[in-house]
Symmetry: C2
């Protein structure tokens, strides 16, 4: 009977490895190359350090098996792995979960925003504007790269959108963030957001706020979806 050892194995790199091996048996370094070629390393964190750790862990869990070891000259040995039936099942189960179930994540920007009120409003505005600029150029760059990969070249055939769809997702999220950041910066700049003061009292910092946030009764919320 199959022992139910889900283990940790939460690293998405493991998913990418399984995906490679569904295609054909490979050695770890070739998996990395394959991911790079297809730009999957943009959506799955890939480090050589982790690669071998994760492969080992997959082997321990019986999701992949070493198939052969080769050696060319006096180069280091290459172990070629193949996926098992359990590995295939794991892959599809995991993939379905990743797509259908949102998971809570902790983007660094949210952490920064959490404490933005500690800065002066003027500084907050200029930092947000800098972010907006950087986002803009990153978006332009990412879009160009995406178009190029999709169009193909001599070596690579053009690819259907769906096999690179994660790029469209990431682009859209960045665009959305850009719009939001720009809006926030201008709201702060023109005083639409009340800024609390922090005062020392009895040796600790207190937040002081007069309780009025929005100016004239414009509807307070920029929560609604504006884009599209």
């Amino acid at each position: 009977m199959a022992t139910k050892r889900t283990r940790s194995l939460s690293n998405p790199l493991a998913l990418a490895i399984l995906a490679c091996l569904i295609e054909r048996p490979m050695h770890p370094y070739e998996m990395a190359q394959t991911m790079r070629e297809r730009h999957k390393h943009e959506s799955v964190r890939l480090n050589y350090g982790s690669l071998y750790t994760v492969v080992e862990s997959l082997e321990r869990s019986g999701l992949i098996v070493p198939q052969a070891t080769e050696r060319e000259g006096r180069r280091p040995e290459r172990t070629i792995y193949a996926i098992t039936e359990a590995g295939r099942a794991k892959f599809f189960g995991w993939l379905r979960t990743l797509i259908s179930k949102p998971v809570k994540e902790y983007p660094q920007f949210a952490a920064g925003l959490s404490y933005i009120a500690i800065l002066e409003p003027a500084e907050a505005v200029s930092l947000l504007e800098e972010r907006a600029q950087q986002l803009e150029s990153q978006i332009a760059e990412a879009r160009l790269l995406y178009e190029a990969v999709r169009a193909g070249s001599q070596d690579r055939p053009p690819l259907p959108r769906i096999v690179l769809i994660e790029n469209e997702y990431e682009l859209r999220m960045k665009e959305c963030e850009l719009a939001w950041v720009t809006r926030l910066a201008s709201d702060i700049a023109n005083g639409a957001l009340a800024w609390p003061r922090f005062v020392m009292r009895d040796g600790h910092l207190d937040l002081v706020w007069d309780g009025e946030d929005r100016k004239e009764g414009s509807e307070e919320t920029n929560l609604t979806v504006a884009t599209e």
Copy 2:
């Protein structure tokens, strides 16, 4: 000269700890309570395991110092920490960077999307629709919670938007994702996205795509493993 020991210290929990100590000296457990009270644990990952590790690391770096140790009865000792001048500087520098410089991140959904083409289009649609539903209810829930925290209660005063602004960011991002996912599902459903086929050839899997839209060919490999 001051040795440049930036160390690792990349865990945003460290930022949150410094933020607490800017307010007043505290012991670690109280920092955790404070973060929870203000819902900062929604934007900064907080585990007791990590908390003490990070505090220790901050102390080693000279960003905080133990100020006193108390003991009530025979309870475990509590070490109260205070922020140093270096810690304050680190906090503001880090905060500015977090806000002004976008960093590459790897959301799990992007990893899932990377391999969605391996599934059948019909299944992809239903998984995406499930995600959309879950996002919808998560958004509703998060919005209610946010409004409640902002409005205050007997114990807590109402708060200005800017001190909880990370909630608006996260809401907007979720809404954006929802719109995108919904759109993708319907595009797939009505055939707007060509779906490649995967065929076995010489013992490995090849992607076949006619470059325009799909037409029903013959021997497609069935990759899918039924849900367990």
